[in-house]
Amino acid sequence: MSSLAKTRLQTERKGWRKDHPHGFVAKPRTARDGSVDLLNWDCKIPGKAGTLWEKGLYPIRLEFTEDYPSKPPKVSFPAGFFHPNVYPSGKVCLSILNEDKGWKPSITVKQILVGVQELLDNPNNADAAQEAAYKLFKKSGAEYAKRVRIEAAKYTEAPAGFVAGGGATGAEDDVIVL
């Protein structure tokens, strides 16, 4: 019989198909044998309109374990992603993903992705995860903005591309780290 983690992820999948925020993508991977890998999801988060991150569509990977939903998934951007709260490996530092802080088993995939979208434009330097973005953010708003636009440009793709798997940016290939 299915594990609690997988049963919950099947429910998450159903919930997502029924209703999800516009422009977001969230999908468990398909293995070569045609089975669905429920523990590994490839997702995409659009940058919010009116922010430095707009127009970009950012690849995010959610890695669940059999301890989900007692434990949060590991959420990562491609390695080296420029943001004060993203670790060098690409892992996201966010309170709702932290067992000691905000994680609750009731948090859904949708809430995680919306939370990460929110984080893009609201970095928190008190919990800096990488030096480069931390320093630039602190040093100069203009330079930080310029650097973010460069980052966003890496993940800008034609709108038609993101429905099927074929429209992946080159950057997506970098997701598989760790």
Partner: protein, 644 residues
């Protein structure tokens, strides 16, 4: 009801299954046979190890390497030659130990050490409707819980506390407990320094670390010079840089760290002497590597594993164990050491030293080598007395369950206590420190959790030949036509087999079309086989249940009796009622009584829906909430889903 049986009579007339013949298992088997139990089967996968002998008292040194279950049986037969004990040296998850096997027992007793097997047995017991007594011990702590379907929570009704993992930010930048320092050392610093994977990207690789090549050995650099460079970066430079991020320390609850003195200040004899200790020195570092054969502690004369080191000694052990690991990896052909291993003495020294120095940075209580090893390796020392107490408690709960079961008549189902009678079962916790002057704390069992995905859903059994039944036929003929489902979706334990097209990507639609053409046995992720539980749902009908597949090979079907080549039946309470597939819709009283006690809300709801669906088989129906009572409200038949 017959006059009450004595406990011994009850024990004599019962057949029990024990899963696990280890620490708890030895105690349990002894207590069972001494309490009068005579008919016992046990399963254990393990063989006897020397380290078991101090508490698994049915085993002796000469038994090392032999099957635990078999040796336990032989030892017990020596003092209870009349007992009928069957020992299985095997994995309880093997398909030979299926629902039909479990159904032959009056109660199942678990003495297992891993969560996965315990969940598996829970599910087998639920499907077979056999009560389960579950147990566990950790050092001085232990617990015994009774699980009776419909009466108490199942083993998985409530999430199990899982050991906490520590968020990377706490480990890397803001530790405040000894365990944070130990985990930083074992899980972050150790693999970063010693793993041979050139592509490993670690969260320690911040911009400054990359600029300084802080974790990479320079060409020609001696192991101890490299070690000192890492010491200076990790315990000094990095701490200073963190302190410079004043936003991080704005919150007063965060205690600011202090950088340690430079290595040479702390250790006057210098890195080379510290690295080698008494292992001898001859000229340059590299040539003397092969003399670094002992552990750092031996070479440095630090003999007490329970003592907390001074900063200077911790720094010596850091450099010395570090240099020894590098030297060892070099002589091994530079394969590196990818992961911390609690049985690797040098790795334990490195972790203990790193944790001690980091504790000094952050003003955290310092742990000894022995404690650090236990923390890093998650070691809890087993206590024989706890196992003995738990073994006894299991027998007490088993007798209560068996008494209820006998009182329920011979229908074979789970016994029904008198309505409103206090529940006789207890969850009992064995504690390390007394509260209310007690070390044993008995509690009322938890009630079933209605939304438990394991025991809360309705169950339907599909008997078919998995080699010829296709997923497409299952969906069209069984789910749509027979059960009146509208838009069914099918999940297997490990994967999704079928979803409605709506909103799917092309590749997904294609995969599901392929699945529909496949036989059940050939589906992805291992296929659907005997005893596979599918989860079937229909969002449009708010309808969900478990479909348990039972394989019956094609040549065993009688075309006249079962022209469809498959049979659907409720996962009924008793094996007998399954005999008769030509359902007549009548419900026998015993089963009615049995169902009475079953938590009605969720189960009855769903099963009523199944019946409602059956009633209109062949036509699509729109469900509305009112047709729940179309069977006259009798809950008695809730467990008996009969489908023609």
């Amino acid at each position: 009801m017959a006059p009450e049986m004595s406990d011994v009579e009850l024990a004599k007339s019962s057949k029990v299954l024990m899963v696990g013949a280890g620490g708890i298992g030895c105690e349990l088997l002894k207590t069972l046979v001494l309490s009068g139990f005579e008919d016992i089967e046990m399963i254990d996968l393990d063989t006897i190890d020397v380290s078991n002998l101090n508490r698994q008292f049915l085993f002796r040194k000469r038994h090392v390497g032999m099957s635990k279950a078999k040796v336990a049986r032989e030892t017990v037969l020596k003092f209870r030659p009349d007992a009928r004990i069957v020992a299985h040296h095997g994995n309880v998850k093997d398909s030979s130990f299926d629902v039909d096997f479990v159904r032959t027992f009056d109660v199942v007793l678990n003495g297992l050490d891993n969560l996965e097997a315990r969940k598996h047995v829970n599910r087998l017991c639920l499907a077979a409707e056999v009560p389960l007594i579950e147990s566990g011990t950790t050092g001085y702590l232990g617990q015994v819980t009774a699980h009776v379907r419909g009466r108490t929570a199942c083993f998985e009704c409530n999430p199990k506390p899982v050991p906490k993992s520590h968020p990377i930010c706490t480990l890397r930048d803001t530790p405040d407990k000894p365990i944070h320092c130990v985990v930083y050392a074992a899980d972050l610093l150790f693999p970063r320094l010693f793993s041979a994977d050139p592509n490993a990207k670690s969260d320690l690789d911040e911009e400054d670390a990359v600029e300084l090549s802080a974790f990479t050995r320079s060409p020609g650099e001696s192991p101890e010079s490299f070690a000192v460079r890492v010491y200076d970066y990790v315990f000094r430079t990095k701490i200073e840089r963190l302190l410079a991020k004043e936003e991080m320390w704005a919150d007063e609850k965060r205690k600011k760290p202090t950088p340690l003195p430079a290595f040479t200040e702390l250790v006057p004899e210098g890195p080379t002497a510290a690295a080698h200790g008494t292992d001898g020195l001859n000229g340059d570092g590299n040539n003397s590597n092969n003399t670094m054969t002992s552990t750092a502690c031996k070479a440095l004369g630090l003999r007490d594993a329970h003592a907390a080191w001074t900063d200077a000694d911790a720094a010596r052990v850091f450099v010395s164990s570090f240099a020894r690991i590098v030297a060892r990896d070099e002589s091994d052909g530079n394969h590196g050491t990818d992961k911390f291993d609690k049985d690797d003495a040098l790795a334990v020294e490195f972790v203990a030293a790193t944790a001690a120095l980091r504790s000094a940075n952050y003003g955290i209580e310092r742990k000894s080598l022995f404690d650090a090893k236990g923390m890093a390796g998650n070691i809890v020392h087993a206590v024989a007395t706890t196992n003995a107490i738990v073994g006894g408690l299991i027998v007490i709960e088993a007798l209560k369950v068996l008494r209820q079961r006998k009182a329920g008549g011979d229908a074979g189902g789970v016994a029904t206590p008198v309505p409103c009678a206090p529940c006789p079962y207890r969850y009992t916790f064995v504690k390390q420190h007394k509260s209310n002057s007690r070390l044993l704390e008995p509690m009322e069992p938890d009630p079933p959790n209605k939304s438990c995905v394991v025991c809360g859903a309705a169950r339907v059994e599909l008997v078919c030949d998995v080699e010829s039944m296709t997923l497409g036929r299952l969906i069209d003929e069984v789910l749509k036509k027979k059960l009146g489902m509208n838009a069914p979706e099918v999940n297997a334990p490990e994967t999704i087999l079928y979803e409605q097209d709506d909103g799917l990507d092309d590749d997904e639609i294609e995969q599901y079309a392929k699945n529909c053409k496949s036989t059940l046995a050939n589906l992805p992720a291992g296929g659907v086989r005997h005893n596979t539980a599918l989860r079937v749902s229909d969002f449009t009908q708010k309808f969900e249940f478990d479909l348990i597949v039972t394989h019956r090979p094609g040549d065993e079907w009688d075309d006249e009796e079962d022209p469809d080549g498959y049979v659907l039946r409720g996962d009924s309470v008793s094996a007998e009622s399954n005999e008769n597939n030509a359902a007549n819709g009548e419900n026998n009283e015993e089963n009615g009584a049995v169902a009475e006690d079953v938590d009605d809300c969720l189960i009855v709801d769903d099963e009523d829906e199944i019946k409602a669906a059956t009633a209109t088989a062949g036509t699509k129906r729109k469900r509305d909430d009112d047709d729940d009572d179309n069977d006259g409200g009798g809950r008695g038949d809730a467990k008996e889903i009969r489908i023609e």
